[in-house]
Amino acid sequence: MNDIVTAIRTVPLEHYVMLSFVLFSIGMAGAMFRRNTIIVLMCLELMFNSVNLLLTAFSAHHGDPGGQVFVFFIMLVAAAEVTVGLAIVVMMKRNVDSVDINQLNRMRG
């Protein structure tokens, strides 16, 4: 365990922060601009994972295991969310026969 923490620490913290910001932005752009629901779900997952990376890096640099415990909770919750999300996508496919986001945007006012 200590080897891993030391290995993580060999890379400066700023690099982790930059990398996870880049990943988060890619995920955000994808979630906002892609029209295929499955891709949007993948982009949301990318956003969650960039947070996981950041938490792990901070945790190693602080020498505090709390951050890594949090990562497990995020993984668990993300799995639960995607389960619900895919079920909703299946329901959507049954109702409008498509997984295009624009198909599900009729309410206005």
Binding site: S50, L55, H62, D64, F70, E81, V96, M107, G109
Partner: protein, 456 residues
């Protein structure tokens, strides 16, 4: 804490009851369980222990919120016994998911570190994504569930990013340590800490439907089944405001200046946009959605006033708002049934002639939402204004007061419809359970205004 355990077990029991053929027993068992949960959280109030190595701690305010939320959910279950009696589908899941969601709301009232806050928000939200899309064959319900899920997860990602950054700067998830860190660095906060706080504000702003993160709420309110809409606008609002207050009202009191200014801007915008757009709504559920956004503005103002008594004002406000809202949604469901599924506010027409007492209760609840004395809504708004003025936010209070006056207009629109006679149209049908719910809500909205029972 024992209330949270009881609720988790109750949810599982309700799920298993769905396997059998005893659909009629679901609501009574749920009501018993909710009453038990409310009683347990009340009995547990002294001594107020910390749980899970300081992960959670109940204080008087969180106990009050827990009891009130259990009570409101109980009212919704009583309503649900009639609402769901007409559906052929499996309803056990709906009851169970409502209970699970309530468990998340309980966590939100008493968290002591960011991990429990995150779990509370997710346990509250994930069942709601399913419930909003609960009518499987309905297109609008699918759209509501889908939008809520997508935007909710998106906001969660921001919220998590905020937590990660705050953790990185403060070195802990514990709210006390983060609060001390914020106080120590109030003058020159680190850039990453600032960004983290902004991201957390985005995530929570989405949950409470503050402008500019409100755009999901009218669509979701419109598409979701009415009982779920009622749950979202009451219990979810109470839970998320308990969470917001605990975060920035109790623990991180020394907000960086930039964050505080942004939050005030959000509050002003919420008041303005919520009330203005509500003016031109004639679809009842959308009207309630924008009215809920407007009320979010008043509640945010109470939190940001930074007063020690803000928690009590918040509790009183959310409780009176929830009572009036639940009652109105029950009335709306009855009127909608009589009008064959129409959701325009014209369905209230002719109510005074056919059911004068029902119209009187509707009047009280609408006046309470509008904030007109002697109803409870007036005292609630008055309380918020007093807190804000006492802490030197005079201009914001003046603005909010103007918006409150503006808000009276769209509630009066509904009142006018209620008292307009209508020759044709079916008479709406009342049964005993619905009458009980409406009576409790109407009398509560009036009584709390005349005699606040030490709540303020």
């Amino acid at each position: 804490m024992s209330a949270i355990i009881l609720l988790s077990i109750l949810g599982v029991v309700l799920l298993y009851m769905g396997l059998g053929n005893n659909k009629r027993l679901l609501a009574p068992v749920g009501i018993l369980g909710l009453a038990g949960a409310g009683a347990l959280s009340f009995l547990d109030r002294r001594p107020l222990p910390a749980w899970g190595h300081g992960a959670m701690a109940f204080d008087d305010l969180s106990v009050a919120f827990c009891v009130a939320m259990a009570g409101i959910t109980l009212l919704l279950f009583v309503f649900g016994s009639d609402y769901y009696s007409r559906t052929q589908e499996n309803v056990a899941e709906h009851y169970a998911l409502l209970v699970f969601s309530l468990t998340g709301a309980f966590l939100l009232t008493s968290y002591q570190n960011l991990l429990m806050l995150f779990l509370g928000i997710e346990v509250l939200s994930i069942p709601l994504y399913i419930l909003a899309g609960g009518k499987k064959r309905s297109y609008r319900s699918s759209e509501a569930g889908f939008k809520y899920f997508l935007l909710g997860s998106f906001a969660t990602a921001f919220f998590l990013m905020g937590i990660a950054l705050v953790y990185g700067m403060a070195g802990s998830f514990d709210l006390k340590i983060i609060g001390d860190y914020a106080t120590a660095n109030a003058e020159h906060p680190a850039a990453l800490f600032l960004v983290g706080m902004f991201f957390i504000a985005v995530g929570l702003g989405f949950k409470v439907a503050a402008v500019p993160f409100h755009f999901w709420s009218p669509d979701v309110y419109e598409g979701a089944p009415t009982i779920i809409t009622a749950f979202m606008s009451t219990v979810v609002k109470m839970g998320s405001f308990a969470a917001v207050y605990r975060l920035i009202g109790v623990h991180i009191t020394a907000l960086p200046l930039a964050v505080e200014r942004t939050l005030w801007a959000i509050t002003i915008l919420t008041l303005l946009i919520g009330n203005l757009i509500a003016l031109r709504q004639s679809h009842f559920k959308r009207l309630m959605a924008y009215s809920s956004i407007a009320h979010t503005g008043f509640l945010l103002m109470a939190v940001l006033s930074g007063d020690a008594l803000a928690g009590r004002a918040l509790f009183y406000y959310t409780l009176t708002y929830a009572l009036a809202t639940v009652g109105l949604f029950v009335v709306f469901t009855l009127a909608k049934r009589a009008a064959n599924g129409d959701e325009h506010i014209r369905i209230f027409r002719g109510m005074f002639k056919s059911k004068p007492w029902l119209a009187a209760a509707t009047l009280i609840m609408l006046l309470s939402l509008a904030g007109i004395p002697p109803t409870a809504g007036f005292l609630a708004k008055y309380q918020v204004f007093v807190l804000a003025v006492q802490n030197g936010y005079v201009w914001a209070t003046l603005f909010a007061a103007v918006m409150a006056v503006l808000g009276i207009y769209y509630y009066l629109k509904v009142i006018r419809e209620t008292f307009t006679p209508n020759e044709e149209g079916a008479v709406l049908q009342l049964n005993a359970t619905n009458t009980a719910v409406i009576a409790v809500c109407g009398i509560g909205a009036l009584l709390l205004g005349v005699w606040p029972m030490g709540l303020i």
